[in-house]
Symmetry: C2
Subunit: 341 residues, 2 copies
């Protein structure tokens, strides 16, 4: 087995075996696939993660090695759970992908180009529904189902991390868009004259607010890590900002402002109730969030825009597994294509 | 009667009385309320306007005068239609309004501040459903039901005129947002350092692309109408642009670019199939549309964004009536609040 079990925490600790056998009956296998790691868990109908494991993604290798690592992780989690009869399999994967058929070509997983992930997992888990969505959409769904967005009808879930992604819940249901790509808030244009984006556009939010872009901008302005043994990345930059480095502070301000502008636009367009923000950069706390709120307030005019609540994500690293499982557990709300398994 | 009947055109000409009596049975009264004019029509279940009339809006007068003019117009259209038994009443009104209760305070109708339009019309037309939405949403619905958006599942309907507004159809259904204000594309931020907007925000699309803003910008750059008897407005500016006035051309380019940037953002966020653009400024044709397409292409990166089709509106001045009637005729798609009549 290549899967490394997550450390036991109250949230992921298996229940005592006797109760676990009751509740693990017909659990859902939730799969979260990213460029750095994969996570798999057994999730019950209430969204509790009963057992989970994670493993690094061999994302630069061969397609079959990447898939083999996923299968090994699934097998180990299934074994740990006593080989339960599954209710279904939900997948949140880095994109882009064609959807709902789930042929994935994730930017950060070069091993997979046009890889028929959904079909492969249907073959591995025959007889049960196998459903897939973009990983940022899965995060939004998780926060809506079990996290900070629970009880709200119109929610943006947003991740600010190595990339900037998102997902939308409107009138209580996930929004897919024509080809399953709705939610790409990272590609709102926040500066029409801004940098060219790898997507092919220009001035996208992601070119300014993704972690590597924040660090690169600071380096351009002359920043070097105070601790010269640290990498010149967003995490080091956050540490230096906390220690009063002016370039570092301004770099985070610039990113936070761009996020705030984008939130004002999305709130005007969709009349949202709530935006839930997750991802590594939010862990830097007020460094990003404070300029974000300031810019939001400056650009939000109408009362229906100003009313947007902006809150940090409530779920931990299991959010991807939980959101993936929700595609099965709460299909009425979160899985709406006419095509189905 | 204060209502002035619309000129007879193939689209609005009443059917010969014998056939009309068959089809006018249980028609819908569609009401379109703007700051300049009001229009009312009898619409059949297929979206044909059988009879219609329009009248100027006494928008700066007293609340009861404005409402009285509306009632007189409704009465004249009902009389013209042989006092049919109505299936229901649909209203598209300038906003903002509270929704779905339809208490309106339209920016351009100072006569109405907190005016309970939906309730008043419920009293006038008892026993049938009376439904209301924002006028730009009604336009988007009309284009989706009977116009350029028919057959598409994910559509933005947009009006570029004295203001810039819009409405959204997602997965075949109208999107309302938490308070009924979804679709406000005019308040996407396209220039974070741009002009203060009357909404209270800054750099909104509307501050750049609404007709009066385009003309005002040209005047600031030194433009005066070639024909000194013409007003310095967007229409005169369009004429001068067609005659090669450089400031006029650049003024429209600037507006078209802002619209194109906004469309790229919305397509990325919502993975749309189609954008339908209507309103007076689109009648200027390529003057606005050509720089708009160019900016869209420069800012649309992903294939799912680039695939957006951008087309002019197909319906004529009756679009507002048709969209309002659709709230009744096609309530499953276009009227989704849990509150109802």
């Amino acid at each position: 087995m290549t899967g490394k079990m997550a450390p036991m925490t109250p949230a992921t600790m298996p229940l005592p075996r006797s109760r676990a056998e009751d509740r693990v009956e017909q659990p859902i296998l939730g799969i979260d696939i990213g460029g750095t790691k994969m996570a798999v868990g057994l999730v019950d109908a209430q969204g509790n993660v009963l057992i989970s494991g994670r493993t690094p993604s061999p994302a630069r290798g061969r397609a079959e090695d990447m898939y083999g690592a996923l299968v090994a992780l699934c097998d180990s989690v299934m074994a740990e759970g006593g080989e339960p009869q599954l209710r279904g399999v939900g997948i949140g994967s880095a994109g882009p992908m064609t959807w709902p058929d789930g042929v994935v070509s994730p930017n950060n997983i070069t091993a997979w180009r046009g890889f028929p992930l959904r079909r492969m997992l249907k073959q591995k888990f025959p007889g049960v529904p196998v459903r897939i969505h973009n990983d940022a959409v899965a995060m939004a769904i998780a926060e809506h189902w079990k996290g900070a967005g629970a009880g709200y009808d119109n929610v943006l879930g947003m991740v600010v991390s190595t990339g900037v992604g998102g997902g939308l819940i409107i009138n209580g249901q996930v929004i897919n868009g024509g080809l399953g790509n709705a939610g790409h808030i990272g590609h709102l244009v926040v500066d029409p004259d801004g940098p060219i984006c790898p997507c092919g556009g220009r001035g996208c939010l992601e070119t300014i607010a993704r972690g590597p872009a924040i660090a690169a901008w600071a380096v351009e302005q002359g920043w070097t890590p105070h601790d010269s043994s640290s990498p010149a990345d967003a995490r080091t930059l956050a540490t230096d900002a906390a220690n009063g480095d002016l370039i570092a502070i301004v770099a985070y301000e610039r990113a936070g402002e761009a996020v705030g502008v984008a939130l004002a636009s999305v709130a005007a367009l969709l009349d949202l109730d709530l935006a839930v923000i997750g991802g590594g950069l939010v862990q830097s706390g007020e460094l990003l969030m404070s300029p974000m709120r300031k810019a939001f307030e400056a650009h939000a005019g109408f009362a229906f825009v100003k009313r947007l609540q902006i809150v940090p994500a409530a779920l931990d690293q299991d959010a991807g597994i939980v959101g993936a499982a929700a595609l099965i557990a709460e299909g009425d709300r979160y899985w709406t294509p006419s095509d189905d398994e």
